[in-house]
Assembly symmetry: C2
């Protein structure tokens, strides 16, 4: 990174090709070390959460591929992963997970898994990222950063983008606050969610259909070193207390009515 | 793009170095054509909205650099750019602009401009993107895509990321719905906001302090061609009617109270 900013002169995003089917207990570092482009100090691995869920056994396996049975199991799983309902409409539930993430369906996913399976998010994606980083260091002797990514919807915007749910070995949120731009203006509120930008960049080569779950982003490190505040992905989560959108609009309107004694 | 997906095998993000100070009336295509890495068919230019605002004269120029006077002017400008207040707390206002964008401070910005200036967003960023694309074609004979980017905050997430507010020459929102993954699962809701992912990727080389307002993303096109649905950035805007977060939580609670005759 150039002094204090998150800018870098030239970045490459490389797919990790040849990642086959993964199962519980597979060593993700070993699986990646084999087919990856030769990794370098300062590379950032962008890893789709699904492959972490598979190797960590965070899968629900049904004894049937019946779509209705699977949907029932999915709804049960969403409830189990939810600590707080943020908004819902029809079958769509946007909830806060145990990680503090606000996600549709609590991140429970039925795509890119077998038709009798459902994937749950990793229990502790920062720790998963840490283990992968350690594993790559042990096998290849290189210091990489790791971002575990998941797709997220956004209020007011159509479509999903990938964002970071687990981070190791790099600073997820840069903080140039208090610094000045070239005109002398003090930058007051421009913390940049670099790990989310890395996750989004990785998705440009990964894709949802292409069967490429892992990418390497090269060039964000200066002299092979990534800045790291040790906070992992936690810095990216804004607590619900300070969020202006801690509840969906319909839910908040209902709360306002109840508040003044109007039975709903 | 590989058949129908948005995946690509290898992407580069290159900074456009040597963009000097820009003024109203400057020909952005000419300014970029000179210092850019040699552009190729299918390259995507990621252009910070600020430089478009400068060349299009979307600046407020005060006769003083007094911070208080500037703040007053900023609040007036925010009001003029706002069609709907979504949420506010203290000095922070999150509003819908005439473009349909939901943005803090209506995109009115006091960074990376002179200390007596404020930047407004371009009037029609899709048209600005279109003009730049045409200008590059006329000067260099290459077909590029253009994404005009601006930084956006997100509910539930700390920090900002760059997103696309203007798009020309490429499809902003891919739609693999109805297609199946390798397991035979039908993908139902996974529209991908590729233009937002491109904007985020571009920010990895641009940065807020580095004085690099433009980047080139190379490698998303297949055989030099970018898919283009002609919709520009409009596809990325989810109308407030169908948004679960069309109002901030406090605003919606107040609305619920009023709704049942409780004076606020």
């Amino acid at each position: 990174m150039t002094a204090g900013d998150h800018a870098a002169p030239h970045i490459e995003i490389l797919p990790v090709l040849g990642i086959g089917e993964l199962r519980q207990g597979d060593d993700l570092a070993a699986v990646i070390a084999e087919p990856a482009p030769p990794l370098q100090d300062g590379d950032v691995l962008i890893v789709t959460s699904k492959v972490v869920s598979k190797t960590e056994g965070r899968m629900i396996v049904l004894d049937t591929a019946d779509p209705d049975a699977r949907e029932v199991a999915r709804q049960v799983a969403i409830e189990a992963e939810t600590v707080r309902i943020v908004a819902e409409r029809d079958a769509l539930r946007i909830v806060e997970t145990r990680h503090g993430l606000v996600l549709a369906a609590a991140g429970v996913d039925a795509s890119n898994v077998s038709r009798n399976e459902l994937a749950l998010l990793p229990i502790d994606p920062d720790f998963s990222a840490h283990l992968l980083r350690e594993g790559i260091r042990a096998r290849l002797g290189v210091e990489v950063g790791v971002v575990i990514s998941d797709s997220m919807g956004r209020p007011w915007r159509a479509g999903i983008t990938d964002a970071a749910i687990g981070v190791a070995g790099l600073t997820a949120l840069t903080d140039p606050r208090g610094r000045t731009d070239v005109y002398g203006n003090v930058l007051e509120v421009t913390q940049v969610a670099v790990a989310d930008e890395l996750a989004a960049a990785g998705d440009l080569v990964k894709g949802k259909l292409a069967g490429i779950p892992i990418a390497v982003v090269r060039g964000v490190a200066r002299d092979g070193k990534l800045p790291d505040d040790g906070l992992g992905s936690r810095a990216l989560i804004r607590g619900s207390e300070e969020d202006l959108f801690r509840l969906g609009t319909s839910e908040a309107i209902a709360l306002g009515r109840e508040d003044v004694g109007w039975a709903t």
